[in-house]
């Protein structure tokens, strides 16, 4: 029977499938970080259990580490959490890319970077943005700490099979419109809960035309409309990205893997539970105006009239009036980073806009590379100097101001254009106001001092 890619990936990880029970799935790679793992390790030890397959896990420090000043700059509780991760990894025999390691970085940046994320795998992590890895034709989703413990102990996970959704995106992206805008456009159309209970396959010529970095951005934001897993069938773009990376297969194994990976596509005639069509030519650079990622409008638009209590509350929190032109909204801060948009391609796109210009006097702007390797590669190209000369702060790798667990936070009332993934109340700091945008849009906003259409800025190549 014709199968979807989602079904194929699910079926190849079935350890056990019993009617009336959730499926037992085998986990190929477990990504571990300091915030959602300590309780899982503690509980495991209290139960007298061990980590079944430590060599199928990798750990890093990303969520609460400072982005300057090293571990000494962290508060005591954060230091204890990072130290606990190190102790747990030592105990379990799990490789840790800790602070100071040349491989350290945001967990969803380093997996692909190290060649650990392959097509066909099942990857989990105690982090909702695990969907990022779906860009490789991988089944990848976020889990909670109890499930982290289950994976540590058994290398498996109990899961109810999800429904399949296809998002078909066709057409060439207009100039100035990037993967982030595709995702924000989808969420604006479908709403923040449309994907609940589903895994999603992104298909169509637009998706095929995206780089791996762009596909990662698209898959990363899948959780923001409620679906846990988003994926793209692997193709030559995928294989070219992977080949030669540290943990990619070599030689004969590479050939065998390639042969297998080429079968990872939805079969002709495979039926999805639902399908959505998106015309890429209608997409624009988007800006969120509210407090969830579905509350966005094109940058050329205005803050909309509220429909219902949720919108009214969002406008109050954001201190915005309906009818205000988006480009009239002045900014205090700009953040370029996060597992959504902190890869080399994102930094290059932002640097292109910034080159030879100055950050507006009112704005404090921050660039936080997604990983130490991204940082080093960017520095080798001189991107750090481009940003620094314009007045951006160039920091060490981590999640940073995406969620503000470390010292990088907004002050109450501050307004920020951010390349991250969530504009929830207080997400970047209590009372802070977040407008989600793409990296080129964030860069342009830093220079203009307000939200601005990067296309009219005269910077985007046609």
């Amino acid at each position: 029977m014709a199968q979807t890619l989602i079904q194929k990936l699910w079926d190849r990880h079935l350890v056990r499938s019993t009617p009336g029970e959730p499926d037992l799935l085998y986990v190929d790679l477990h990504l571990v970080h300091e915030v959602t793992s300590p309780q899982a390790f503690e509980s495991l030890r209290l139960a007298g259990r061990r980590v079944r397959r430590p060599e199928l896990a990798i750990a890093t420090v990303d969520h609460n580490n400072p982005t300057r000043g090293g571990v000494e700059a962290a508060d005591e509780i954060s230091r204890k959490q990072m130290a606990t991760l190190a102790e747990n990894c030592e105990w379990a025999g799990i490789r840790l890319y800790g602070l100071g390691s040349r491989q350290q970085g945001i967990v969803h940046v380093i997996g692909p970077e190290q060649g650990l994320t392959h097509p066909g795998m099942l990857i989990v992590c105690g982090d909702s943005h695990t969907s990022t890895h779906g860009a490789f034709g991988t089944l990848a989703f976020g889990i909670g700490s109890s499930e982290v413990e289950h994976v540590l102990a058994t290398q498996t996970l109990l899961q109810q099979r999800t429904k399949d959704m296809a998002v078909n995106i066709e057409g060439e992206l207009p100039p100035g419109v990037v993967a982030k805008d595709v995702a924000l456009g989808i969420i604006a159309r479908l709403g923040v809960a449309a994907g609940a209970g589903h895994s999603v396959e992104y298909r169509g010529s637009t998706v095929r035309g995206l780089s791996m970095e762009g596909r990662m951005t698209l898959c990363n934001l899948t959780i923001e409309w409620g679906a846990r897993a988003g994926m793209v069938a692997p193709d030559e773009t995928t294989f070219a990205f992977l080949e030669g990376r540290r943990h990619a297969p070599q030689g004969a194994l590479w050939q065998a893997a390639l042969e297998d990976w080429r079968t990872l596509a939805s079969d002709e005639g495979a039926v999805f539970d639902s399908e959505v069509e998106i015309d890429a030519r209608e997409l624009e650079p988007y800006v969120t105006w509210g407090t969830n990622p579905g509350q966005s409008v094109p940058v050329t638009g205005r803050v909309p009239e509220p429909h219902g209590e949720t919108d009214e509350r969002a406008l109050r929190y954001m201190a915005l009036k309906a009818g205000t032109a988006i480009q009239d909204i002045a900014l205090d801060r700009v953040f370029i980073g996060s597992c959504t948009n902190s890869r080399l391609e994102d930094l290059r796109a932002a640097a292109e806009v910034v080159r030879g210009r100055k950050v507006h006097g009112r704005v404090r702007a921050l660039v936080v590379p997604g990983s130490t390797p991204v940082k080093l590669a960017a520095e080798a190209e001189g991107l750090d100097r481009v940003f620094a000369e314009a007045g951006f702060e160039w920091r060490d790798a981590g999640c940073s101001m995406c969620l503000g667990m470390n010292p990088d936070i907004l002050q109450p009332g501050e307004r920020c254009a951010s390349t991250s993934n969530r504009n929830f109340e207080g997400r970047q700091g209590a009372g802070g106001r977040t407008h989600l945008v793409s990296p080129p849009m964030a860069a342009a906003a830093a220079i203009a001092g307000h939200l601005v259409d990067v296309r009219e800025f005269g910077l985007v190549p046609a």
Binding site: L24, Q39, G144, V192, M405
Partner: protein, 196 residues
């Protein structure tokens, strides 16, 4: 996990849609390495508003939270479920839940009760009209009763069984060791391993 037993308790109405886990437990509390003690930080920022519903004396000690669709969306932090449980909640009633939050809740014995929107509306209205009204949640019978309202809810048989019996899922899975080992024999050779 403790066995889930039928209980009655005050039902608090949180009449909002899309309550994300960042609101349930803000990030500054995620630096703790403990599993307990998150209750005082539940809805930390919203609690600063004296008018916030959970600050009203009538809802003190509430054990059931009635709320809008897509409750617990966003971050996977299990701390959200822990904070509700630590604050005394045993069940959350909503038209829909974030998938990860729902899973997390089930793992720790916090019951996500899924009811149609119009029934949740009626429960919300009742809890607002009669502050302090109690709800009874019976998982065995799959029924929520509040005043004159009584609704049957759906839950998958596996989750219900685990909650009622207070099962340790990991112990259950560890019994399947031969099947897990057999699967491992079939895994392709090119899959990555990372030696410590």
């Amino acid at each position: 996990m403790k066995k889930f037993e039928t209980f009655s308790g005050v039902a608090a109405p949180l009449d909002k849609a899309d309550v994300d886990t960042d609101q349930i437990i803000p990030k500054q509390f995620l630096r703790r390495i403990e599993r307990s003690g998150f209750g005082p930080f539940l809805f930390f920022d919203w609690r600063k508003d004296p008018g916030f519903v959970l600050n009203q004396p009538a809802y003190a000690g509430s054990r059931v939270l009635i709320t809008g669709p897509n409750f617990g969306c966003g971050s996977s932090r299990e701390h959200a479920a822990w904070s509700l449980e630590d604050a005394g909640y045993r069940a959350v009633i909503a038209p829909s839940f974030g998938d990860i939050f729902r899973n997390n809740s089930l793992k720790i014995g916090l019951l996500p009760v899924h009811l149609p929107a119009e029934q949740v509306r009626a429960l919300l209205d009742l809890a607002q009209e009669q502050p302090g009204v109690e709800a009874t949640v019976d998982l065995e019978a799959q029924r929520v009763t509040m005043g004159d309202l009584s609704y049957r809810f759906q839950i998958d048989a596996h989750s219900r069984h685990c909650l009622l019996e207070g099962l340790d899922e990991i112990a259950q899975t560890l019994r399947l060791e031969p099947e897990i080992a057999a699967y491992e024999e079939r895994r392709p050779a090119w899959l990555p391993t990372i030696p410590a």
